[in-house]
């Protein structure tokens, strides 16, 4: 009946359900952050028009691409730095 039981050969169904659920949540949060940030970067706040201007649409596309690229790079860098830190002084990243 355990939950995130690492190192065990067979994940239970509850674990499989939790894993899928968690995956969905991670993706949904990333999506939500991207929408917030790219809206802020690209959309004119006066709302004089109800349609996306051409420039805004292009900006959104590029913002989305850059957001994914940045997300990936930051994720890679964090992993490397954390490994380096752990190899070094045994410290960690986050709340202590």
């Amino acid at each position: 009946m355990s939950f995130l039981g690492f190192g065990r050969p067979q994940p239970t169904s509850a674990e499989k359900i939790a894993a899928v659920e968690n995956e969905l949540k991670v993706v949904a949060e990333m999506h939500s952050r991207m929408v917030k940030i790219c809206t802020l970067k690209c959309i004119d706040k006066t709302y004089r028009e109800g349609e996306l201007a051409k420039g805004e649409a292009v900006c959104l596309d590029r913002c989305a691409a850059k957001f994914f690229e940045a997300h990936q790079k930051i994720s890679d860098q964090l992993q490397k730095e954390t490994q380096a830190q752990q190899a070094g002084r045994g410290g960690g990243f986050g709340m202590q």
Binding site: K16, I17, L24, A28, V35, T39, Y47, E49, L60, A64
Partner: protein, 91 residues
């Protein structure tokens, strides 16, 4: 993906997914209200929305929906590409 869930389990999973979608939609809606209200409503000399504010809100909703749809499409494409790349690496 579901490798061997019983019928009851996969129903449970569906229920959770549906619950999450409801939550997601509520978030999107809440953010939309926040954003459009903040951008469009600034006159507190009366307690009813003015014509200008109503127009602004309505255009803001339209634009936000298009934005949401467009970013949703981009997100889907980019996420698929990223997933494919990661699966490539894992082999």
């Amino acid at each position: 993906m579901d490798g061997g869930l019983t019928q009851a389990e996969s129903r449970e999973l569906d229920a959770r997914i549906q619950k999450r979608q409801v939550k997601e939609f509520m978030n999107v809606f809440g953010n939309l209200v926040d954003n459009c209200f903040t951008s469009c409503v600034d006159d507190f000399t009366s307690k009813a929305l003015s014509g200008r504010e109503n127009g602004c809100l309505s255009r803001c909703v339209l634009k936000s929906m298009t934005t949401q749809t467009r970013l949703g499409e981009r997100f889907g494409e980019l996420n698929a590409a990223m997933t494919a790349e990661m699966q490539q690496k894992m082999r």
